[in-house]
């Protein structure tokens, strides 16, 4: 009996915070249904969702957002895991190198946008180096790497920030596994790569997948980078929400909330997929 109660007792503070969160979320969702008494909106309606879903630019924005979020999360996860493995293999899991790895995690997104512009814009340092080397004569000869339709600048900015995040997220675990089990596997005759692929990586997979999900959902919902570095059209979904939100007419707020509601639904689907994957990988490990 005692033992049965233990997990619930441990979960009490989590539960309290969870309830606060759900109340906040619920109030937000009610706003997306057009209930904001302060602006004289009291009747719940699906009108905002309908209008948002029938906007001509919505589908394009949705595709653009999914593309940016997926590319950022995927490339960051793969590169991050790879670099993490290299760092572990080189034995550099602590000290000055890790300190440098931490830097991008703490740099705010707006600042990342700032130096992406500093470096990659048609006026940036790269373009200037080419100009000084005589390879180009005019700014417009430099390819449009940011503000482009393919979201290259946005993805690069996310990569700069999120690859270190993955490393930071995974490295403690990977170093420990590699240290104990990996060594055991090597002693049993596996080479380093085999030991990594067969033992270390599968054991880190859950964490890597969590990292992917966190980045995907974040990149899907955040407006700062696509707002600063994105093209005029198409606009990412969170940018549309942000623009609705900043409209002075407060009665446009439900539109912003409805777009966010759509984003939440997509995030939830991603989360469910993640749980299915997680259970499969745990089963595989167990089997």
């Amino acid at each position: 009996m005692k033992k049965k109660m233990t997990p619930y007792i441990l979960l009490v503070p989590q539960l309290i915070l969870g309830v606060v969160f759900i109340i906040g979320l619920g109030t937000g969702i009610i706003q997306s249904l057009g209930v904001i008494p302060a602006f004289g909106l009291t009747e719940p309606t699906l009108k905002y969702y309908k209008e948002v879903l029938t906007r001509p630019d919505l589908l394009q924005s949705l595709k653009y957002s999914l593309y940016i979020a997926f590319m950022s999360a995927f490339l960051a996860t793969v590169t991050g895991t790879f670099l993490c493995a290299v760092l572990v293999s080189a034995g550099k899991v602590r000290g000055i190198i890790m300190r440098i790895v931490q830097i991008p995690i703490i740099v705010p997104h707006v600042v990342v946008a700032l130096f992406i512009v500093n470096i990659l814009s048609q006026n940036g340092i790269l373009a200037r180096i080419l100009a000084n080397a005589g390879l180009i004569t005019d700014q417009q000869q430099f390819p449009m790497l940011i503000y482009d339709r393919y979201g290259l600048g946005v993805i690069l900015a996310y990569l700069w920030k999120e690859i270190p995040f993955i490393i930071y997220f995974v490295i403690a675990l990977m170093a420990n596994i590699n240290g104990s089990l990996g060594e055991a596997a090597t002693n049993l005759g596996a080479n380093k790569l085999q030991a990594f692929m067969k033992v270390t990586l599968p054991l880190c997979m859950n964490t890597v997948l969590s990292g992917f999900l966190i980045i995907f959902v974040f990149a899907l919902g955040a407006y700062e980078l696509p707002f600063i570095l994105g093209a005029t059209t198409p606009k990412a979904l969170p940018v549309l929400a942000y623009l609705e939100y900043t409209k002075p007419d407060l009665r446009a707020r439900p539109y912003a909330m409805a777009i966010n509601g759509i984003l939440i639904v997509i995030s939830l689907i991603a989360a469910v997929l993640y749980y299915i994957l997680l259970r499969r990988s745990t089963k595989k490990l167990a089997g």
Binding site: P13, V20, I23, A90, R99, G221, Y245
Partner: protein
């Protein structure tokens, strides 16, 4: 063969470090730059305008930093404590509703901050929590906790309950086993969770404003308007200060880990 691989490793790490550092250097240059026109590789006009602006407000900034450090440290500490508890419940026990709890602990990841902020603001005003430090700590905690829980879950899972069970078999009480065996082993992961929670809390802008209502001031509240203002020297100097504070905090934490791991070698699995 082995040697060759090391060269590759060194090269890859070197390129990576270079790509991380160079952008940071550009913001260092921008701290003292007013104009840097095409196609020059060196700024044409330097000035101390941003530095002077900071120095003028140093008293206010020091005050802000202190209150920010206090709030973020409280948030990070609570995140680690609650994260450890939640992770332990989810990883070491089977119980009814486990999956629901596990999902709930991840939920804040899935929702854009503004939706939650605007919703929770009204609730907090009604409870009298808006405009108070504890209100701000609670909302920061909600955002930081998922990171702490995820990291702690991984740590707890990796360590397993075997060690603790061994200690129990050898006659230690449950509490003793937890504090003497499990906790020291979890310590490095706890510090990762602490740093992550600290960063998340320290960078919160919109939530702090909505809940703090201007009464609770943090460094981010003063910094963020400059970041978007287009005055690149001011944006840069605030980012640099922000970075320095964070690196100091991280450095102190890593030093603590160092002290602990020296005393006690940790092994997972």
């Amino acid at each position: 063969m082995k040697r060759k691989k090391n060269i590759w490793e060194g090269l890859i790490i070197g390129i990576f470090i270079f790509l991380v550092i160079v952008p940071i250097l550009t913001i260092l240059v921008w701290v003292g730059t007013e104009r840097w026109a095409w196609p020059s590789l060196i700024p044409q006009k330097f000035s101390m305008r941003a530095v002077n602006g900071i120095l003028r407000n140093r008293q206010q900034l020091v005050r802000l930093c202190m209150s920010s450090l206090f709030i973020s440290a409280s948030v990070a500490f609570l995140s680690v404590v609650i994260g450890t508890m939640t992770a332990r419940a989810l990883e070491c026990y089977d119980f009814f509703g486990k999956r629901l709890f596990s999902f709930m602990s991840m939920l804040p990841f899935l929702v854009p901050g503004t939706v939650f902020a605007m919703g929770v603001q009204i609730t907090f005003i009604k409870c009298g929590l808006s405009g108070t430090v504890q209100g701000v700590i609670i909302v920061h905690l909600i955002c930081s906790l998922p990171y702490a829980v995820t990291l702690m879950q991984d740590g707890t899972r990796a360590m397993g309950v075997k060690l603790e069970e061994q200690a129990r078999v050898l006659g230690a009480g449950a509490l003793q086993a937890f504090f003497k065996v499990t906790l020291p082993n979890l310590f490095p992961v706890m510090l990762s969770a602490f740093s992550m929670a600290f960063v998340v809390s320290f960078s919160q802008y919109f939530l702090t404003l909505m809940i703090g209502g201007g009464n609770v001031k943090t460094f981010a509240i003063v910094m963020v308007p400059y970041l978007g203002s287009g005055e690149r020297n001011f944006a840069s100097i605030y980012s640099v200060i922000f970075l320095v504070i964070m690196l100091l905090v991280f450095g102190i934490l890593e030093w603590i880990v160092g002290c602990f791991t020296k005393a006690q070698e940790v092994e997972y699995y």
